[in-house]
Subunit: 195 residues, 2 copies
DNA sequence: TAAATGAACAAATAAACAAATTGTTCATTT
DNA sequence: AAATGAACAATTTGTTTATTTGTTCATTTA
């Protein structure tokens, strides 16, 4: 087995253990056991517990991102693509129990403030996805000529807010209706009146 | 001096002390001294330190709310009223050093989640203000016929998010541009095309 | 007599230290 | 080359004591 495959499996195992116990309570030995190895051996693959944790979370976030990208690329119409992107990104966590548990245990993973963000690169890529959709929408004359950068920041912040409300604060039910209404409102603000 | 006046003065003094030291470090004696009295005497007016804190914060929040209400009631046009309400509510904290300091020290005062809100009544009143504006806008045929309740929740959540970003996380500068762009977007989503 | 004081007490917090757990390394084994 | 487990270092936890701070109330003051 290649080192890359090993790492993939380690991250999967670690994600489950961190989901179950949280960062603090999970021991390196717990994670090693989950993989059927000793902690000494695990250290041949990872630098430290903290490093393992960050890499594990990044692994989970990238899978989330990949899923959304995959789903939206199935859409040709840019407006539909925008809607799919928003809804799929929002609903994803309801299907990833482990990552959801990790996020609930450590909400600093998805901070409202970019300055506190430990996963800048990943989130920058997500924002670039969003930015690309807005840009295309404008170029195709479907969206108003808005300030793309600030609108991207604005929408991404709202997105983070919804994730926190729905999954960290567990206001799932009431948040869903808010999300639908909010998406409608924003879409109306983006769309040019087509004739 | 009436008891009501005394309480008003106590809250003012307490706000300054809590602003300076934060809840934990501020002692009841500090606050009593700020008023030139002894802590034993202060206890004739307040139930406990915690109770004093909550009442003090409520006092600050109500002043904020009153200021916004006052400013927006100077506007007849409902769309302008909406804009004034949003901008004044957002900028208020930049002018209230003490309340801002207290909020920075204790962000749970203004939580993203209604369930964690200790000032439900005050915030419900704020939301009612917002809801009233939306309702009037619809009745006057200026706003689309949106779901008023969910849109109110949505907009209030965004408002809380902006307060946190701008004042708690101190992202003032970059948040301002986001706010302006976001307000424009939402306004476009609300407004009916008038002819 | 209403408002304020300060001593007295209870509750919470901080400091100091020992004991136990857990993160990390590495010489040795598989 | 990959894995082990003993050894060690760093943290965390538990416990006790000392100190501070919150709260009450009999007494004093204006």
């Amino acid at each position: 087995m290649t080192k890359k495959d090993s790492l993939y499996q380690i991250y999967e195992a670690a994600l489950n253990v961190f989901a179950k116990y949280g960062y603090k309570k999970a021991t390196v030995e717990d994670i090693a056991k989950e993989m059927g190895m000793t902690k000494g051996n695990l250290y041949l693959y990872v630098k430290s517990k903290k490093d393992l944790y960050e890499k594990t979370v990044a692994h989970g976030l990238l899978r989330w991102q990949a899923k959304v990208r995959e789903e939206m690329e199935g859409q040709d119409d840019i407006v539909k693509r925008f809607v799919i992107m928003c809804t799929k990104a929002f609903e994803y966590l309801s299907k990833d129990r482990a990552l959801r548990a990790v996020l609930i245990n450590d909400p600093t993973i998805f901070p409202l403030s970019p300055r506190e963000d430990r996963f800048t690169e990943i989130n920058r890529a997500s924002m670039d996805m969003l930015k690309g959709v807005l840009q295309t929408g404008i170029e195709q004359g479907r969206f108003h000529k808005i300030d793309v950068d600030h609108t991207t920041q604005f929408l991404f912040s709202i997105y983070v807010m919804f994730i926190i409300k729905a999954y960290v604060k567990s206001e799932g039910r009431s948040t869903q209706a808010m999300f639908d209404e909010g998406l409608g409102l924003i879409l109306r603000g983006l769309l040019k009146n087509e004739r």
